[in-house]
């Protein structure tokens, strides 16, 4: 067989790929979102299927179980209402003190729920797609979280969906602090383990009183994530090889492998 068709077809295909690879970042991202949009009907169909299964499962729940759940939820609701009352009082006190000192007021969080459409099919990234886009007012770098803690930030925004880079991905490094001691460090990916819920917490000052079990929160530095979102708990600590700073491993408070719904935080 002649080798000519190989060279022609191979050359033409390589040329197409190289042109695509050389596209400006913005154009490439828009093209990615457009191509990814082809999968939206399938994601929608799969989501509807899951919903149907859940509804069927709920329909099969007995009356006794439902009544038990209602009782438990009522108790939980009362406890949460008490906590809200306490927190509202603390908030009012905080506001009065800030006014007295002339400090800037913290704006309350504005959140919108989003459904997780899918995760990154490649093994070397930790990203996901959510069902909110520019149509819903999502912007690049918007923080994404759940009730348990931080998930990540929005990187690319399409019309009806967005791409989110999760905590632990090389593209999501940020400043965090230890809740008890207020020592700051940087959250980085941890490539040493197969456990996707462990991340690194580095550049913590040598004298910091780091202990396993302490909570790590976003510090608010950098301007992307607001202060105080839970990231996870310290698992173990070691001094870096030159003895310049401490390095810890943090177990994320959010199980990133089982996300179904998230909240996007709006400024």
């Amino acid at each position: 067989m002649s080798k000519r068709p190989y060279y022609l077809a191979g050359g033409a295909a390589m040329l197409v790929v190289l042109i695509v690879l050389q596209l400006p970042e913005r154009t490439a991202n828009q093209l990615k979102l457009t191509l990814g949009g082809l999968f939206l009907p399938l994601f929608g169909l799969a989501g509807s299927g899951e919903g149907l299964v859940q509804e069927t499962a709920q329909a099969l729940t007995t009356r006794g179980q439902l009544l038990r759940q209602v009782t438990e939820l009522r108790e939980l609701n009362q406890r949460l209402q008490l906590q809200v009352t306490q927190l509202q009082e603390a908030w009012r006190e905080n506001t009065r003190l800030k006014q007295a000192l002339g400090w800037q007021q913290n704006a309350g969080w504005r959140l919108k729920p989003a459904r997780v459409l899918g995760q990154d099919p490649a093994n070397w990234w930790r990203t996901l797609h959510i069902s909110l886009g520019a149509r819903d007012g999502v912007r690049t770098d918007a923080p994404v979280l759940t009730a348990d803690g931080l998930v990540g930030r929005v990187t690319d925004v399409g019309f009806t969906r967005s791409h989110v880079v999760m905590v632990g991905d090389p593209g999501c490094r940020f400043s965090a602090l230890v809740q008890e001691t207020r020592d700051k460090g940087i959250i980085t990916p941890d490539a040493s383990t197969l456990d996707h819920l462990l991340v690194g917490f580095t550049f913590v000052p040598i004298g910091a009183g780091l202990r396993p079990g302490q909570w790590v929160l976003t510090s608010g530095d950098g301007g992307v994530f607001p202060k105080g979102i839970p990231v996870g708990q310290v698992v173990d600590i070691q001094t870096n090889e030159f003895g310049l700073y401490l390095e810890a491993r943090v177990r994320l408070s959010v199980n990133l492998n089982r996300l179904e719904e998230v909240w996007v935080l709006f400024p």
Binding site: A13, G118, P121, N123, W124
Partner: protein, 193 residues
């Protein structure tokens, strides 16, 4: 399939399968939660196409499959298409030397393709000065990817045989008996009496 040449419907079926495979890799998390690895079926499909189909099928599958994959990933757009294309074209070039109708070569070609594609993709990503998440556990992921791809490639052949039986036109084989060639033994009706 092997001996049967690839028709347009086969190419379309293969593209449809690649589309569904990319969707499943993004949507389903079972393997990721169980083994810590998300499997990738595109290298197996490209290996199958390279062993049985024409060059346009290989190129089309590599380009579209790679682009679809990258559109749902943080990979630079086109990087997976490049690695799938290189792998597919090499297999297609040497397929005359491969006993492609046998299980063992199919398994080995699937293993090689599924091992080569992630390595080529990662080399491409590192070439763009982007830092992917790599560690010692990446070797485990690589082994699982290669093994799953190796098993899936012969499965593609079986699936394709079933697909051909169901959807492709197979001409009815002519029977050896033909009425106009029947030898009529006995008394000759045209003989002079």
């Amino acid at each position: 399939m092997g001996a049967v040449s690839m028709s347009r419907i086969n190419t379309l079926g293969l593209l449809g399968l690649a589309f569904l495979a990319v969707f499943a890799e993004s949507y389903l998390r079972g393997m990721r939660n169980l083994l810590g690895v998300q499997i990738d079926l595109l290298p197996s499909l490209v290996a199958y196409a390279a062993l049985t189909g024409g060059l346009p099928t290989v190129v089309l599958l590599a380009l579209l499959g790679g682009m679809w994959f990258d559109s749902l990933s943080a990979n630079p757009l086109g990087i997976s298409a490049l690695s799938l294309l290189v792998t597919g074209m090499i297999i297609h070039y040497y397929r005359g030397l491969i006993l492609r109708d046998r299980f063992y070569p199919q398994f080995l070609i699937g293993l090689g393709a599924s091992a080569a594609v992630p390595v080529l993709t990662l080399l491409g990503i590192l070439g763009t000065w982007t830092e992917p998440l790599l560690g010692w556990w990446s070797i485990w992921q690589w082994i699982v990817l290669a093994l799953v791809g190796a098993v899936f490639t012969p499965a593609c052949f079986g699936l394709s045989q079933w697909f051909n039986r169901v959807f492709n036109y197979v001409p009815a084989q002519e029977a050896s008996f033909r009425a106009d060639r029947e030898i009529d033994r006995g008394r000759d009706p045209h003989a002079d009496h």
